[in-house]
């Protein structure tokens, strides 16, 4: 999957299997990634698990949310509830059946899980001082080195987009598909890394149904960034293929 870390690092990773994205005394988020095509190092997210760790606060009970790509997004936590804590400190809401949001008031944190085509996407916004206060359920007393959102992907898990992608579609066709905005896509124009990533995915998978899925996923991911971290977008668009890092 493509990863934007809390430090605004942009990476494409293989990270096959289960990996923690966030792991601190307040919340834990874990994703499971599976290969998209047999024999390819590329993977996509098929499961997201979120734990709201209630034991660190009187503001909520512990809650777990689980989403899997082979079923529609659950509208509740696994215990069937949508709220927790006094004055609903934790609230889960469903939007257009393809997006759920969990708002945790006592840590001013928003978590979004999307179903994008056949795969899942995740977004989180949390206060800077809590991002830095990492260290898992045991606070600073456990190993936090694997949180992908905090540390990024380990170097050995990063994909080189030029040498490790397949090539089923030429760059110009992929660019055309990624610039085309379907009516059901949530943003008009892809820019920055989201345009690059879309071109990478569509070149890799070809112009079939999955290309539409990946283009839609890039639009959704950019929509979340526009809402949660708009200043990170520089409105860069690749106008000449020679400038595109994936063209060689």
């Amino acid at each position: 999957p493509h990863l934007k870390t809390f430090k605004n690092e942009y990476q494409t990773c293989r990270v096959r299997g289960a990996w923690p994205l966030i792991d601190n005394p307040y919340i834990g988020v874990q994703v499971t990634n599976e290969p998209v095509v047999d024999g390819s190092p590329a993977t996509a997210t098929t499961k997201v698990t979120i734990i709201i760790r209630g034991r660190s606060t009187p503001c909520a009970d512990e809650k777990t949310y689980e989403a899997a790509s082979d079923a529609s997004l659950p509208a509740t936590f696994i215990d069937g509830t949508q709220r927790s804590g006094p004055d609903a400190s934790v609230v889960l809401t469903v939007h257009e059946q393809q997006r759920i949001e969990i708002y945790v008031r006592y840590i001013e944190t928003t978590l979004i899980v999307r179903q994008a085509g056949r795969y899942l996407a995740f977004s989180a916004r949390m206060p800077e001082e809590l991002v830095n206060f990492s260290g898992g359920a045991d606070g600073d007393f456990s190993d936090s080195s694997l949180q992908l959102c905090v540390r990024g992907c380990p170097a050995s898990e990063r994909l080189d987009p030029i040498s490790e992608r397949g090539h089923k579609l030429p760059w110009n066709k992929a660019m055309e598909r990624c610039r085309r905005s379907d009516s059901n896509e949530v943003t008009n124009n892809l820019t920055d890394h989201y345009l690059d990533w879309c071109v990478f995915d569509v070149m890799t998978t070809g112009d079939g149904a999955s290309a539409n899925d990946f283009a839609a996923a890039a639009h959704s991911a950019q929509a979340d960034v526009l809402r949660l971290d708009p200043s990170s977008l520089k409105n860069k668009t690749t106008t000449h293929r020679e400038q595109n890092p994936y063209y060689s």
Binding site: P25, A88, E108, P127, E129, D140, C149, A221
Partner: protein
């Protein structure tokens, strides 16, 4: 490997705060957290040092035994409880009572974003 330097700093802080031995208190947990942080800073050069590994493991066990994460929950990385500030909680209807202050985030409203998607 600078494990001894970290240990000396730990002993100095324990003396300074008048903590005779490890105990289940916020003060000790803060000292232990600083000790861990110092040790992590020297992790690369201490990879083969048995003293480093046994110290890390003892500190992890004490942190767990004394429930340090819970004691330190409300302490930010700056070492103080987050200060009150205006909230950006979602809008409420006019007849909904204001949420309890203790369950509304009181820290600084500077945010970070992380996202993961696609193939």
């Amino acid at each position: 490997c600078k494990v001894d330097k970290c240990s000396r700093e730990y002993e100095r802080l324990m003396d300074e705060r008048d903590i005779p031995s490890p105990e289940p208190s916020t003060e000790f947990c803060q000292v232990a957290r600083d000790y861990l942080s110092c040790l992590r800073g020297t992790a690369r050069s201490c990879r083969g040092n048995l003293n480093y590994h046994s110290t890390m493991s003892t500190l992890g066990r004490l942190g767990s035994e004394f429930n340090c994460p819970r004691l330190l929950t409300n302490i930010t990385s700056a070492g103080h409880v987050p200060l009150p500030s205006s909230s950006s909680a979602p809008p409420r209807t006019t007849n909904t009572p204001a949420p309890k202050r203790e369950c509304t985030y009181q820290g600084r409203h500077r945010f970070k974003h992380c996202g993961l998607f696609g193939d």
